[in-house]
């Protein structure tokens, strides 16, 4: 059981590292704020979840259940706060007047105009 958890934790960690790396690459390479937010939120949440899951498995492998529960708590907090934060950033950017690059359709702009008038 413990060996299984250990192996699982390794797998999760490496996968998480990959995703985290990919998300940071996204943050660097994507063209504008909104797309970068995509990378930062989704990929990173996923990566962090995986790494934390790996941590939790490792704790479980060591039989340290409180640590595992705490790790899950951290994950829950991250999961709850990350979308909120990125939503706030996105809204702030838009309200501040940063125009998304190359958007095909922008339905939000009409709403903003409506709000302002």
């Amino acid at each position: 059981m413990s060996d299984l958890f250990f192996g699982l934790s390794t797998v999760f960690m490496v996968a998480g590292l990959f995703f985290a790396f990919a998300s940071v690459v996204g943050v660097i390479r994507f063209p504008d704020v909104y797309t970068r937010l995509h990378a930062s939120t989704k990929a990173l949440s996923g990566g962090a979840m995986m790494i934390l899951a790996g941590t939790a498995f490792r704790a479980a492998a060591a039989g340290h259940w409180p640590a595992m529960v705490k790790t899950l708590l951290i994950a829950a907090f991250l999961l709850a706060t990350n979308p909120l934060a990125s939503h706030a950033i996105a809204r702030a950017c838009y309200r501040h007047g940063i125009v998304p690059k190359g958007t095909v359709i922008d339905e939000y702009a009409e709403k903003i105009r409506g709000d302002r008038s």
Binding site: T10, M13, V14, G16, L17, A20, F21, S23, V24, V25, V27, I28, V33, R36, L37, S40, L44, S45, G47, A48, I51, L52, G54, T55, R58, A59, A62, H64, P66, A67, K70, T71, L73, I74, F77, L78, T81, N82, L84, A85, S86, A88, I89, R91, A92, C93, R95, H96, I98
Partner: protein, 85 residues
């Protein structure tokens, strides 16, 4: 193994910091800061694994709770130009 992941995360964080340095606009930097906060939170959790001491998880928890507060404040500032509206 953990050491490898730690190295990787640190390099990733350093890459993310590149965005903080060059980020053409402020929201880019905020996004990068958010990214870094998350990465470093997991980094600390991994350090707890590395040192095999559950105490360090508390610090990760504190980060998870508080880093988003910073990002929210930055967003608020960026949206309104002031914080007290």
């Amino acid at each position: 193994m953990t050491a490898f992941v730690l190295w990787g995360l640190l390099l990733t964080a350093a890459l993310g910091f590149w965005r903080v340095i060059v980020g053409p606009t402020i929201p880019d930097r905020i996004v990068a800061a958010d990214t870094l906060a998350t990465i470093l939170t997991t980094f600390i959790a991994l350090l707890a694994v590395y040192f095999e001491n559950a105490v360090f998880l508390d610090i990760a928890l504190a980060f998870a709770v508080l880093s988003f507060a910073d990002v929210l404040i930055m967003a608020k500032y960026f949206e309104h130009g002031e914080l007290h509206r």
